[in-house]
Symmetry: C2
Subunit: 219 residues, 2 copies
Amino acid sequence: MTDFTPTERTQVHRLPKRGAYDRETVYRILDEGLVCHVGFVADGKPVVIPTGYGRKGETLYIHGSTASRMFRALSKGADVCVTVTLVDGLVLARSAFHHSMNYRSVVIFGQATLLEDPAAKREALQVFTEHVAPGRWEEIRQPSVKELQATTVLAIPLQEVSAKVRTGPAIDDEEDYALSVWAGVLPLDLAPQTPLPDERLPQGIAVPEYVRSYSRKAR
Amino acid sequence: MTDFTPTERTQVHRLPKRGAYDRETVYRILDEGLVCHVGFVADGKPVVIPTGYGRKGETLYIHGSTASRMFRALSKGADVCVTVTLVDGLVLARSAFHHSMNYRSVVIFGQATLLEDPAAKREALQVFTEHVAPGRWEEIRQPSVKELQATTVLAIPLQEVSAKVRTGPAIDDEEDYALSVWAGVLPLDLAPQTPLPDERLPQGIAVPEYVRSYSRKAR
């Protein structure tokens, strides 16, 4: 896979060593995340809306409601910026100044295309479902024709894309290492808790393996 | 505390019962979150950048670098949209169509003000530090005059603000409740893992209580 080519707006200027343009890094972040933040311009002003998404190959899919501002703007081909951020840990340095966070983020610039073909929409809905819970699509009731019509899907090509990654320990000023203050990294993880079965679940239906051993890592 | 007054762009039109405008709900989400997504317009196009933040009273503070596109745009009073999203769980319904997520989000519209007064900047840095780890400010080396000068802080008033919250179980179509598929909610939590002490930490410095029992909840 060839790397993304940095553009004026995807080139990481601040702390350039944190920038990454290879598809493996970008796709791994996108595949681990659950929510993206979609930025668009409405009446000349910025709007940022969180929403679910899915990726297949070189395309990111998002849902939209026909009635929403976001959908109205994006389905007409307005410019969009989609950002996915994973928080990996707190970097607790010896000085306030050097406190930081370990994180991985991806920023995508482009324009969305409205999917109209029912088969393409159906495939995108499969991508959404499998993004959240791999294996689930085959178990559930798949979308009816009416549901497909009621769902609007936007496709955003992964072309103008960059990632930014911070890992590792705090970097303190040399003279601060002697201070008697705890320093280190507190890793954070979006961790699954105990599943809550639906109250109307018929008896004898076990929690599926993909829920019991749920993890966003290494997807 | 009086509620936020919905405006044309903060009124939640889609699924209006998910909208919330009371300060307690909004502040709780902001105080639990670690990263916000800052949206602004550059050359007529949307840009969304993740960054840390802190809140004090009716003001949200973000860091900026003088050299960054974001800082250059925002410090001149450009319109900004700041969004904070917490993912609380996967809502695994019996049909693909009714899959959802439990989440809480806040969207803030406004304009940023550049803090110039050193005392105000210093207070904002305290807010940042205490937002990440309450109690830490008093333990660490606080910012020098030079560090204060190198830090740019933007203040965004919490005036045009709304929250959106989804909680609870999957809502399935009545005829789908008979299906033999597991359904329920898988709660997710940004959970602290084992702290990683810095390699250059002097012996005998214990992990502080606020790190050992770290939680983003009930702040």
